[in-house]
Homo-oligomer: 267 residues x 2
């Protein structure tokens, strides 16, 4: 079972100014790729907090950690420093990353988006990366992403601006995850139950989950007053597509049979 | 400095099916009340993960921890069990909480929302709470919230259904936080800078923050290509309103003066 975690860095999430749609988007992509996200944490722009979360992901044995935010030129962009500290590594200027940043600012200057193409200390900082890391091209903005393997965990540091995050994810993270997850197939579907009472539904779902390996069932509670039919979400995982389909068919049939019994009041 | 943390429990967040608007809403309320949220973590419906996060909040010295989700009648609602385990406490049936749950189901049965008012084991489970906890009335659904003080941390367990979460927050959590935060005033505002280049803006914000205590400044980076004016978000905290206002005025004036110098190119 491959464990993926997200560390979303940025005070704007903690103050409630920004809704963390980045983590939601990444979560959906990981699920679609057949993986499972183990944890999302949002932390402040603070070296102690960032480095503690990095170390804690390693300690939990996370296989992949994706960070978002904190890669830009400003004083409170400190994800890479926090990552280096959490892993006990140094930071150094990466020549190739610096060249990438320089080219981006030349382009943005030509396009009139920035007032100067000068490589100020703030801009150079974006190319100062943890030792052993490699830079990832950013097709939208100036901050390179970072990939780093340390203590059995692969880290991807992505920017917080959603368009930049998605661009680097699709270009560099997704191909890596696809390879990592290959061999795990996940299928999902939802079905109506004809039952409006969770306390009747719960023991049925428990029974089916107990009997079938690799099947996860969950009611969709919408609160009370939304009608008499609670939906059930079925999630199935297996080594290959054939097994996953067979498992899904089996889960659906067993559920339908149990639900029919319950509706008849035979239990 | 009072530390508040959120633990959002629920696989639906980690699979990307549900966007965690609960944490965002709570974050905004805490900021509005003058507090500061230190951390948000989303975990799976899993006893080990929930109890580990509870213990880790205590170890970090969190003053208040708010959990959302996992209070309902279904098999994967296990927040209270995880909380008890994380704090090394037992669980027991709370008679008053049970009475509340019973009355809610009687009402929902009368209203035609549920098929029976019988107190099934699943429904009784909602009144099984960690030792030392007190139940909080839920004005919308059947699951009571829980308040519990342990090892110097005050825990509030709220349901995951947004309407229920908000109702209990407003009725029971907000008055508690308001009292806790009294004496801390926080003011926020945003201003235009007339500067389009973060690498020029950054050293200015650094300088002003260094000179003024209790002032936090942050650029609003929208990526490139959004025009030449980057906004600045100013956040100020102080013991009372007068001091906070004075601090805000001072920060605004110092910023304006620095920005003008920068625009004139005198630096």
């Amino acid at each position: 079972m491959i464990r993926v975690e997200i560390i979303a860095v940025g005070r704007e999430i903690l103050t409630g100014r920004t809704l963390d749609t980045n983590s939601h988007w990444i979560a959906g992509r990981i699920t679609a790729l057949g993986g499972a996200l183990g944890r999302i944490v949002s932390v402040d722009d603070n070296l102690d907090d960032i480095s503690a979360e990095i170390a804690s992901s390693v300690a939990r044995g996370a296989d992949v950690v994706i960070t978002t935010g904190g890669l830009g030129p400003t004083a409170d962009d400190m994800t890479l420093e926090g990552m280096a500290r959490g892993l006990g590594r140094g930071l150094s200027l990466d020549a190739a990353a610096l060249e990438f940043v320089r080219k981006r600012y030349e382009l943005f200057f030509e396009q009139g988006y920035v007032d100067s193409k000068e490589m100020t200390p703030s801009r150079r900082k974006m190319a100062v990366i943890p030792e052993g890391g490699e830079w990832l091209s950013n097709g939208v903005g100036a901050a390179p992403g970072i990939k780093l393997e340390a203590q059995g965990t692969v880290f991807f540091a992505l920017p917080g601006v959603p368009e930049e995050m998605r661009s680097i994810f699709e270009e560099s993270v997704e191909p890596f995850l696809r390879k990592l997850f290959s061999g795990i197939v996940r299928l999902e579907e939802s079905m109506a139950t004809g039952i409006g009472d969770e306390s009747i539904l719960t023991p049925i779902l428990k029974r089916v989950m107990k009997r079938l390996k690799g099947v996860y069932l969950k009611p969709d509670p919408k609160g009370f007053g939304t009608g008499v039919d609670i939906g059930v979400y079925i999630s199935v995982r297996a080594d290959d597509k054939g097994k996953a389909r067979a498992r899904m068919n089996c889960a659906r049939r067993m559920l339908l049979s149990e639900l029919e019994s319950a509706r008849r009041g035979s239990r």
